[in-house]
């Protein structure tokens, strides 16, 4: 009889021991996934630990073994939302495409994320502002990274060098605020329409009108 290789030999199927760490990670992920819509719908201030226990189907002791408290749970949820959104934005373009197409695709991916996962987007864009100073500083640093990215576009476009030094800050801050307002309207938004609304304000000053028109033609954003 042929024997299984060493690495496949173990406990009989269904009887493997699951480590405490794996269990805790699994439970943490489950609580976080269920906490995102709770924080987004109820608001950070109005959400209680009891709400999080109920949504995550977890006991008090378990909850506090996973998170120090409500704020720690909120910050972990916030980090997770940011990581998810960033992964989608980064996956939307490749380095070979150049700054213009990558940025356009990244903006498209961001708006798609906002439309497809409005509760996650709301957690970051709206609730981070009421989640205390640590949440606010994380919100600020995400926006600051976007400002830095947008500023790198100046190098590729001679006309953009003439823009006011704080143009990128005004553009990113303005965009974030506009998207907050869209989320607060609590209606479905279409990523293609949002792209048509925001790309001219964010990208046209940097890449110019004709280049933006080309990007719009070549990289259409499908509507939901």
């Amino acid at each position: 009889m042929v024997e299984l290789p060493e690495h496949l030999r173990g406990e009989p199927l269904g009887q493997e021991r699951v480590s405490r760490e794996v269990l805790a990670d699994h439970q943490r992920e489950r609580v976080l996934a269920s906490a995102i819509p709770v924080f987004a719908k109820r608001g950070y201030q109005a959400t209680t630990v009891d709400d999080l226990l109920a949504s995550g189907k977890v006991g008090v002791g378990n909850f506090y073994s996973l998170f120090e408290g409500k704020e720690a749970c909120f910050l972990a949820a916030l980090d997770r939302v940011v990581a998810d959104a960033m992964a989608k934005i980064e996956a939307a373009g490749t380095e070979q495409e150049g700054w213009d197409a990558r940025t356009y695709r990244g903006l498209t991916a961001l708006l798609r994320f906002l439309c497809q996962e409005p509760l996650s987007a709301r957690l970051f864009l709206v609730e981070a502002q009421s989640g205390g100073p640590v949440a606010m500083s994380r919100y600020d640093s995400v926006l600051d990274s976007a400002v830095v990215w947008l500023s790198t576009g100046r190098g590729a476009h001679s006309d953009a060098a003439e823009l006011p030094p704080s143009f990128e800050r005004a553009a990113v801050w303005g965009l974030a605020f506009y998207l907050q307002q869209c989320l607060l309207e609590a209606r479905r938004h279409d990523p293609a329409k949002l792209l048509a609304e925001t790309a001219p304000l964010l990208l046209e000053p940097i890449v110019g009108t004709s280049r933006l028109s080309r990007l719009t033609r070549e990289l259409p954003a499908a509507s939901d």
């Binding site: 006011p164 005004a170 553009a171 605020f177 607060l184 609304e197 925001t198």
Partner: protein, 217 residues
């Protein structure tokens, strides 16, 4: 003897020590942890007096916010209405806003930052002011060569840039520098409506003398 319930609001509220006490307490303790008792101690007010004027903490904070918003909108709106043409009227309102901020730093902090942790009603009231400001900006459609080409979001994006700049300045505790801030924000507001060239002109328009002198100091 204290008479029946008598809501304190508007200019009378802003002139009353309780308004400053509410703002200062929320500034020092945070919205969630600030208590009515702390408001009363700072304002040297009894519980009976407080209850005579307010239904509770949220309502008192909302009333202060509303009084502050009404005072601001009245002033900035007057400056805007005093000038006939856009974007000159918008610039006048922007500089009047700057004066208001310089004269009322605590109240501005309260409106921009302090109420972020308040209830939905306070945030909704705050957002109404932003919509009002967006209306002042969006009046640029009336003078734009092609109003249909302007994204609907243009005014709100410009307001957002202003709001975020104010919030960050307030949180950092850095002094507001109108000579630096207003021209760039005017550039951002004007560009979608009148184009790059007119927007750039905003960057070199001198600020009102009183504000330029203030910033030099």
């Amino acid at each position: 003897m204290i008479a029946a319930w008598d809501p304190l609001e508007g200019a009378a509220l802003l002139a009353h020590p309780i308004a400053a006490a509410i703002v200062a307490t929320i500034h020092d303790r945070g919205y969630a942890t600030a208590t009515v008792e702390e408001f009363m101690v700072r304002a040297e007010m009894t519980r009976r007096e407080f209850d005579h004027h307010f239904a509770g903490k949220d309502e008192a904070a909302l009333r202060v916010l509303e009084a502050h918003i009404d005072a601001y909108v009245e002033r900035a709106g007057r400056a805007y209405d005093a000038v006939a043409t856009w974007p000159d009227n918008l610039r006048a309102a922007a500089y009047e806003t700057t004066r208001y901020i310089l004269e009322n730093p605590e109240m501005t902090w309260f409106g921009m930052v302090g109420v972020l942790e308040a209830d939905d009603l306070a945030r909704a009231r705050r957002d109404q002011v932003f919509s009002w400001a967006a209306g002042l900006i969006d009046a640029g459609r009336g003078v734009a060569p092609d109003p249909t080409a302007i994204p609907r979001s243009a005014a709100m994006v410009a307001v957002g840039a202003i709001v975020e700049a104010l919030r960050r300045t307030q949180e950092s505790g850095l002094p507001v520098k109108p000579v630096e801030a207003v021209p760039v924000l005017m550039y951002a507001a004007v560009r979608p409506y009148l184009g790059e060239e007119t927007a750039r002109a905003e960057l070199v328009i001198a600020p009102p003398a009183d504000l330029a002198r203030r910033e030099e100091r």
